[in-house]
């Protein structure tokens, strides 16, 4: 992979835990193409799984889209649910297991709205060039 910002990889799945392995596999494949040590790859996979699980639960099973975009410093994974929510993040998110796990595994994790859709962005550093 050369160039500073290649086009992102985007994949969508139904909002069902049975499909989460697809997001883990794609995350692993993209991270492996960057200069990322294997334990960082596994951390990011787990964090993506956590974010996706949380979104499925918070939206009662809305379909999810994962976008993976490489920058010069990191790999950014944005998981977005195809849903409209009243309050995002929901009450209790700050003290949740999902928040704790994502914060521990990713170098940064942010909860935000992507348009009107609830989304979670995770970043994991790649190796210094």
């Amino acid at each position: 992979m050369t160039g500073s910002s290649p086009a992102p990889v985007v994949v969508s799945i139904p909002g069902d835990a049975a499909y989460l392995h697809i997001l883990r596999a794609v995350t692993g494949a993209v991270a492996a193409r960057l200069r990322m040590p294997v334990d960082s790859i596994e951390d990011l996979r787990l964090a993506v799984h956590e974010a996706a699980s949380y979104l499925i639960s918070a939206t009662d099973g809305a379909a999810l889209t994962l976008e993976l975009r490489a920058t010069a410093q990191d790999l950014r994974a944005v998981v977005t649910a195809e849903a409209v929510v009243g309050v995002w993040p929901p009450e209790g998110f700050e003290g949740s297991l999902a928040r704790t796990v994502m914060a521990g595994l990713a170098d940064s994790s942010m909860v935000r709205l992507q348009g009107n859709a609830p989304a979670i962005e995770l970043r994991k550093r790649t190796l210094d060039p």
């Binding site: 193409r33 294997v38 799984h49 699980s53 639960s57 949740s96």
Partner: protein
């Protein structure tokens, strides 16, 4: 934390089990329904129920022989963990033999061996490309083999730790530096208190001490891929305990 102990009659049978075969037989009879129940829970995965029941019964026998009434754990708790471990290992070994091509099995084992050495050399975990160069295989195949090994390690949660005779249930209740984790996570994931010591330790080292998976692997004496799997399964377990979606995976008995 302390569970109610077994009734005195059962404890008496345990006291006599070594010298009195009838006591052992009676224990088998009393708890056979537990083995049958657990075997049925694992049915429908392509293995005949008779085979599963046989595996579960062997697990029960092993539990009866190894149970230490002095530990404050009920026998059914101890036996369920042992039997589920045997059933998972049985299914995993079958699945591994059937599903994973030999080429990937061998490559996976080779990768498991080179990662620790490369981590030492590089001062960090290697990348997939670096592993591929070392084992002389395409990066895609390395990833595929790592995933296969990941699946292989799944059942090993219940496998003996470094000391072959000491399974995870045996390591519970001893000195536990990860109690800090239990306290801190008591609100986000109360089920953390029910985790076996090794799983708690992995969480503690990753989330409190900030160790990498490779460093944790060295600390607890398993491969980095295995640590990753332990983390993944443990988080699934905690997640389902707080009512958030996890993958449709079997859960150990509580």
């Amino acid at each position: 934390m302390t569970e109610p102990l077994d009734d005195p009659e059962v404890l008496g049978l345990f006291d006599r089990r070594a010298e009195d075969p009838r006591a052992r037989d009676e224990l088998v009879e009393r708890f056979a329904s537990l083995a049958e129940y657990l075997a049925r829970r694992f049915a429908g995965r392509g293995e005949p129920l008779d085979d599963l029941t046989q595996v579960a019964n062997l697990g029960l026998l092993s539990a009866i022989d190894r149970f230490d009434p002095a530990r404050e754990v009920r026998f059914t708790t101890f036996a369920a963990a042992t039997i589920v471990g045997e059933l998972k290992r049985h299914l995993r070994d079958k699945a591994w033999a059937v599903r994973v091509p030999r080429r990937l099995q061998e490559l996976g084992l080779q990768i498991g061996r080179v990662i620790p050495a490369m981590t030492q050399e590089l001062g960090r975990a290697p990348t997939v490309d670096e592993i591929a160069a070392r084992v002389d295989a395409p990066p895609d195949e390395v990833l595929e083999a790592m995933d296969a090994m990941h699946a292989y390690a799944a059942g090993s949660l219940d496998a003996p730790t470094r000391d072959e005779e000491v399974t995870r249930i045996d390591t519970m209740g001893d000195e536990d530096p990860s109690l800090e984790l239990v306290e801190a996570w008591s609100t986000v994931a109360p089920a953390v208190a029910d985790l076996p010591e090794r799983e708690r330790r992995v969480l503690y080292l990753r989330f409190f001490r900030g160790l990498t998976q490779s460093e944790i692997a060295e600390d607890i004496g398993v491969s980095q891929m295995h640590v990753s799997r332990i983390l993944s399964q443990t988080l699934d377990r905690l997640r389902s305990a707080v009512g958030v979606e996890g993958p449709p995976d079997e859960e150990a008995e509580d």
